[in-house]
Symmetry: D2
Amino acid sequence: MNKEITMEYRVPYADTDMMGVVYYANYLVIFERARNELMRAMGYTYKQCEADGFMLPVIHAELDYRGSAKYDDLLEVRAYVKTMKGVRIEIACEIRRKGEEALLVSGFTRHAFVSTKTFRPVAPPEIFSRQ
Amino acid sequence: MNKEITMEYRVPYADTDMMGVVYYANYLVIFERARNELMRAMGYTYKQCEADGFMLPVIHAELDYRGSAKYDDLLEVRAYVKTMKGVRIEIACEIRRKGEEALLVSGFTRHAFVSTKTFRPVAPPEIFSRQ
Amino acid sequence: MNKEITMEYRVPYADTDMMGVVYYANYLVIFERARNELMRAMGYTYKQCEADGFMLPVIHAELDYRGSAKYDDLLEVRAYVKTMKGVRIEIACEIRRKGEEALLVSGFTRHAFVSTKTFRPVAPPEIFSRQ
Amino acid sequence: MNKEITMEYRVPYADTDMMGVVYYANYLVIFERARNELMRAMGYTYKQCEADGFMLPVIHAELDYRGSAKYDDLLEVRAYVKTMKGVRIEIACEIRRKGEEALLVSGFTRHAFVSTKTFRPVAPPEIFSRQ
């Protein structure tokens, strides 16, 4: 089963700030795009996840900024399940300029599986426990 | 009854782009902030509006960009009801640097009153017909 | 020469609002992504444009909202040069759900060619006058 | 000297997502707004900081999400200098609903003082070493 994906992302002007680089909060949106593709590759989109009664709210996020993505850069974004324990899952993300080794931004998000009905923690859908 | 407000808004780095000015889409967020304050001043917040079963989705928007707001500018944002006819309302917005005459950005949004239950057009809440 | 493109765009959670649909300002970011790809297809990226001393600030924008894009929708975005006259260019944009006829959002942006050195209007780069 | 501020922030629709709460990346923008006001209260705006040749790029960020801010909430945002050592500064941020004790989101950002000319680390402006 696919626990890792890489996706491409083209940086629009919208993502930049007056320093000429991608604004620091916007990397969390790129992280989300990568998580979406990770779950799609696992055969269980987040959309389906919510339809089945599971939410995955973020409870913690960390980012390390080592370099700067710029306008019109084609980025290569890697996402993978870092840890999975009980109702918690951590998904890591690495952002590089496509074809380059150097890490621009890396980090991870920690999520809890929560019921969309009770808003209480719940055991993950089976597909995750089978990982 | 108050059909016009002005509010202040301080521009964060987040709103700027690599051209050094506020990114063009972000003015629509400032328009929304001003609409919220306009409805609050009218004694009927948009939050209450939705709680009462009315939505006001945007069906048309226009913006004229004449100048550029910059990081840390303190803006003065004026919003007012431009037209009100049947289930439709138009709200205009003008953005200036505080204490300056020159218009930076102006425009308006057109909305339809829609029921949150049926998603069909509905007569506006009484407070609007009394305007 | 290519004066029209279509591109795909996958809607992230980030683009949605509490009404469950894409927030109205975010379509202007999708418009920008499409303009970038339009210029790339014309063989002259906006990045190159700026490097050559030309900026294309937006002076007017209009949007018609007819339907609602939702989370995880795969959108098909069409952009094309609508008019080109003197130092002005208008670029139109249409957003549909991929594989569907119905227009969700359409609109256009009007831009002026401006020198990055003088900030004054300038004749467009030759590639545009050859259109 | 003022090393701590609290500011108010009203949540617009723009900040929310389809889960009905503020999207996780948008708290980093609120953090930035609070940092701006912190520096203004210290008598040295970030705008002046850049004009004097100093940048403060973010090199690390962490956020803990304990609760959820919602549309039209009036938030109380507290920011303070957490640590200051060499060329590095950490600024912490806490977000609550105004008048409530419960922490919604907290976190911090780590920055390095960098020269706008050389893009190399530099000693902070005197106002910071005097803290």
